[in-house]
């Protein structure tokens, strides 16, 4: 894809907006359709597009496989961590009410954190799956 100028420039212009849109979907999840899973997929799509246009090796310099891997694990920890924190604050697992003084604010914060965990995991796993399938072809 080295010579394909339109694709290269197009991708360069699009990728920041794709990332922005992913964050919009993430943080607007409270008020409209959206949430961590969709946001994670869109966020990962930006990197996958980059890898498709500029090659997997270039993409791996931006985002190493190990980091994608780490994201996948970290997200689960964010999600379950929120639950464990609520446990220690004396409520049930994932009962967000206790996260803040006001239950409603607690719910908002809790949902946001959990969705952030989902985003991180989905993003990491999607990129990792893509890298792994891409790496298989180079072996042969």
């Amino acid at each position: 894809m080295e010579d394909n100028v339109i694709l290269r420039i197009g991708a360069k212009i699009l990728i920041p907006f794709i990332l922005m849109f992913a964050l919009y979907v993430q943080f607007h999840g409270d008020y409209g359709p959206g949430g961590g899973f969709q946001a994670g997929v869109i966020f990962a799509a930006a990197f996958i597009l980059y890898a498709l246009i500029y090659g997997v090796d270039t993409a791996k310099r931006v985002l190493p496989l190990r980091f994608a891997w780490f994201c996948g694990a970290l997200g689960v920890w964010i999600y379950a961590g929120v639950g464990v924190v609520t446990l220690f604050m004396g409520a049930e697992f994932l009962n967000y009410n206790v996260l803040r003084h006001d239950p409603e604010h607690g719910q908002e914060l809790g949902i946001l954190l959990v969705e952030l965990g989902v985003l991180t995991t989905v993003f990491g796993v999607m990129v990792a799956i893509f890298y792994m399938f891409a790496a298989r072809r180079q072996v042969r």
Binding site: F70, A73, V76, V84, L87, E92, L94
Partner: protein, 506 residues
């Protein structure tokens, strides 16, 4: 913290799995897995004690009360299943260290333990939850990690076995979701207790009947009921030894638990057996499974495959007990859940020891092995006694209750059932004897042709398996005899679990 035990049962392994995936060294991952499996075992024991003392525990996730939110509900039945799964996990994990180091690439070992712990998470989740959709989610967590674990086997046929299991398992899981969806359409709830109330109010209904059909087929696929068992022999044969020991003694057991849960708690025994007449399907299938699979097992050359077919037959015993739809029959079914986990866990672990030293589990390769690996073969024989159902073993207890359950019923056909149970025990004797004969009464292959009868297996260098493998194996074998001699604890728990499923106050 004790109030949160039901959720910790699932959350602790869930947290441990990504940790295992992140570490680079196999032994550290193993340490995490070990700590996790022992902690969950402790929790399960506590839960069982608590349920026995105080009755069912209900835990509202996120503080949302039962019909709206997801409820984790632990009663005697699933507390018992939790103990079975975690006990096997706690024994298999120490065993896995050496066995896995030999059978799997060092680079993949941390991921192996991540998948292993995830599989444990899924199985515990299925058992602990009181929400039907949650069951599906955990079912897929456990199944997907099980496919990955099986694919790690050394033989390339492990890959096709895992693929086959993936296809069959996904069809089963999708059938289960369809069934759940239809129940949700009719009732608007996913909570098991709520569903049982609403479905009873609804009365017989075509959609519910179709949901029942989808769930029956889906769950039967997962538990490898006779005509739907084709994924099982290959999956058990080619998986790494530790994985076979773990999955053979837990995954199908949890599927049987799902069957109990859906048919007795959600649909209710009356609907399942009097209206839908499930026993008319389950009973013949169970009998055919027991007989035909015992017969097939006799003719296997690979001992792992022999035991895999025997597992399908043993699942038949559980289903036979369940299809009697009486307290004694159910007790036999639930008891056999526990007992078969001990039997097959012990046997597959003994085979893992053979695999570790000999590199093959073909009967041919095990000739004369008793002299070189006396403890391993003794464990196999002791486990075999239990499988056959000799007195003072757990296998005897299961069959005793099964026959009691059959004798409770009137009619000549139940005498046939008794006869079949006894005949198939003899068939188990035949296939176990084939191994015993090869190991104890035949010469080792290298005695005739120096340098080893099997190319590249170095049979002459075979010595006893290391203690790290033998001790966990013998723990399960001794448990086979302990619970076979003193079955008061297991029989009491299984009996009250059966009564609670039948809706009779314990």
């Amino acid at each position: 913290m004790t109030a949160h035990l039901p959720v910790l049962q699932v959350v602790i392994p869930l947290l441990a799995a990504p940790l295992c995936a992140m570490v680079r060294h196999g032994r550290i991952a193993w340490g995490i897995a070990l700590a996790t499996s022992w902690t969950t075992f402790g929790i399960a024991i506590r839960l069982l004690a608590q349920v026995q003392a105080e009755g069912p525990i209900s835990y509202a996730l996120g503080g949302w009360a039962a019909p709206v939110g997801i409820e984790y509900r632990v009663d005697l039945v699933n507390a018992f299943v939790l103990v079975i799964v975690t006990a096997i996990g706690a024994v298999v994990t120490p065993y896995a260290l050496k066995s896995v180091e030999q059978e799997i690439d060092a680079a993949k070992i941390p991921l192996f333990y991540a998948a292993f712990v995830l599989c444990l998470t899924g199985l515990l989740g299925i058992a602990v939850t009181g929400d039907v959709f949650n069951v599906f989610v955990f079912l897929e967590v456990s199944s997907l990690s099980a496919y990955a674990l099986i694919a790690l086997g050394q033989d390339r046929r492990a890959l096709t076995a895992a693929y086959q299991y993936l296809i069959m398992g996904s069809i089963g899981a999708t059938f289960i979701v369809i069934g759940i969806g239809m129940m949700y359409v009719m009732t608007g709830t996913l909570n098991m207790v709520d569903l049982s109330v609403l479905l009873a109010e609804l009365g017989p209904n075509r959609t519910v009947a179709v949901a029942f059909g989808f769930l029956s087929v889906g769950i039967s696929l997962k538990l490898a009921l006779f005509p739907l068992h084709f994924w099982l022999p290959n999956a058990y044969t080619y998986a790494p030894s530790a994985v076979t020991a773990f999955i053979a003694s837990t995954a199908t057991k949890v599927a049987v638990y799902m069957l109990l849960r859906f048919f007795f708690t959600v649909f209710g025994g009356v609907f399942s057996f009097d209206v839908m007449q499930l026993d008319r399907v389950l009973l013949p299938l169970a009998l055919v499974a027991i007989f035909s699979m015992s017969l097939v097992a006799i003719f296997q050359a690979n001992v792992k495959r022999m035991l895999a077919y025997s597992s399908v037959a043993q699942i038949g015993y559980m289903i036979l007990g369940i299809s009697m739809a009486s307290v004694t029959g159910l007790t036999a079914g639930i008891l056999h859940l526990f007992n078969h986990a001990l039997i097959k866990g012990g046997l597959f672990m003994a085979l893992g020891c053979v695999m570790y030293r000999v590199g093959s589990v073909e009967i041919e390769a095990m000739r004369g092995l008793a002299k070189k690996m006396p403890w391993t073969m003794a464990a196999f024989v002791a486990g075999g006694f239990s499988l056959i159902g000799l007195p003072f073993t757990v296998g005897f207890i299961s069959k005793w209750y099964l026959i009691l359950g059959a004798l409770e019923r009137d009619g000549w056909q139940w005498w046939l059932v008794v006869g079949l149970v006894l005949t198939t025990s003899l068939m188990a004797l035949v296939y176990i004897w084939r191994v015993v004969e090869a190991a104890y009464f035949q010469e080792a292959p290298n005695a005739e042709s120096p340098g080893g009868g099997f190319p590249g297996e170095g049979t002459s260098a075979v010595v006893e398996a290391p203690l790290a493998l033998l001790i966990p194996t013998w723990v399960l074998i001794v448990a086979n005899f302990y619970f076979g001699i003193d079955a008061t604890f297991t029989a009491k728990v299984a009996g009250s679990a059966a009564r609670s499923l039948m809706g009779i106050a314990p």
